[in-house]
Symmetry: C2
Subunit: 220 residues, 2 copies
């Protein structure tokens, strides 16, 4: 991670993290990013799936997508955020969120090599659905021709993490009488819902089932 | 919702929703938005808390924040996304997410009236922590002086919702043998964690406790 003016934090610097492992962990835990492009002179922010492989983040979209074309011809900002809790303070202005966020700045490049493109799509599917790529039909020529694949370099990134309880003013703590603390937030996977048109007898595969374990309390 | 070129969908139009109630529901269920501004000619996307009141969405930040100043002097895009499930298909290119997203385009205005500013901050705190505002110390003059409050009009917005199972190709369904369906995703609140410096005997208030009910299975 190489700090540049736009990837250097100006606010709440104590939340900044400069360890590359923090960046990777935030990106790897994400299901989608918010991609910001400039289209017709104004910003546009769109939820977009992605996948990370080493120092590269991959995006894909339809060749007919104006946003993808904008991402190919100019700078983008790409942000992944996890909300971990709501911080209840003793005064309104100290309310906060516990979160982990990564903001990437880059100029994406379009991939043209067929093998690289196929690899990128595998990375994207594996990020959303680990283990699924090998179980399903691969993209065919027609699908590949309709798909744009972009590579985003992860060099220019800023990472912020907030953890822990409220940072209340000493006077408010002394006054007392107000509950303060954190309401933790977590994302869970519930039991898989088979497709209506699924052939009877096809079991839920292990790579799907194993994601649900967090959602099912051990006592049930 | 008044469609303009930049708020009109060009891809996956069947996912578009034009009912204003859908927009409100997505915004009201959100804990943060991703705010896109143009700073020094490039897009920047940052996680930002907000609150909605009627046709207006409120943002706040430090008067020293370059991103807030950028949001005050130019167009912004502001996106709220909920991920509801991962769609497992029979072919790689049909993998998808179930989601609800709202993309707002606007030119924010800075609030200067003290009562309006205070009202906006109440709306923002109540969005993150419903019921908390009345239980805690209100912002004082010094805090208000250091805070910028922006109002965003909700007129120019696009809403997209994807629900249901995979839309596989007929040939892939006929081939069979591959599991297809949806892995539902849900955000839950776990039991509140009191602040280390909390006076003993201060109970968790009802407005906090009632948010946790979803996280605790009825059987436990």
């Amino acid at each position: 991670m190489s700090p540049t003016p736009r990837s250097s934090l100006t606010r709440s610097k104590e939340r900044g993290r400069t360890d590359r492992a923090d960046l990777d962990a935030i990106l790897d835990a994400g299901l989608l990013c918010h991609l910001g492009v400039i289209l017709h002179g104004t910003p546009v922010v769109l939820p977009t799936i992605y996948g990370r492989d080493g120092d590269t983040l991959y995006l894909h979209g339809s060749t007919g997508s104006g946003n993808m074309r904008a991402a190919m011809t100019g700078d983008v900002s790409l942000t992944v955020t996890h909300v971990d809790g709501i911080v209840y303070a003793r005064s309104a202005m100290h309310f906060s969120m516990n979160y982990r966020s990564a903001v990437i700045h880059a100029r994406p490049t379009e991939l043209t090599d067929p093998d690289e493109r196929m690899h990128a799509l595998r990375i994207i599917v594996d990020q959303a659905a680990p283990g699924a790529w090998d179980a399903v039909r691969s993209p065919n020529k027609k699908e590949m021709a309709a798909t744009m694949v972009l590579a985003v370099d992860l060099t220019e990134a800023s990472v912020k993490v907030r953890t822990g309880g409220p940072r209340d003013d000493a006077e408010d703590i002394a006054t007392g009488g107000v509950w303060a603390g954190v309401l933790p937030i977590r994302q869970v996977f519930d039991a898989p819902i088979p497709s209506d048109d699924l052939d009877p007898g096809i079991e839920v595969p292990a790579h799907v089932l194993q994601r649900c374990s967090d959602a099912v309390p051990a006592a049930i």
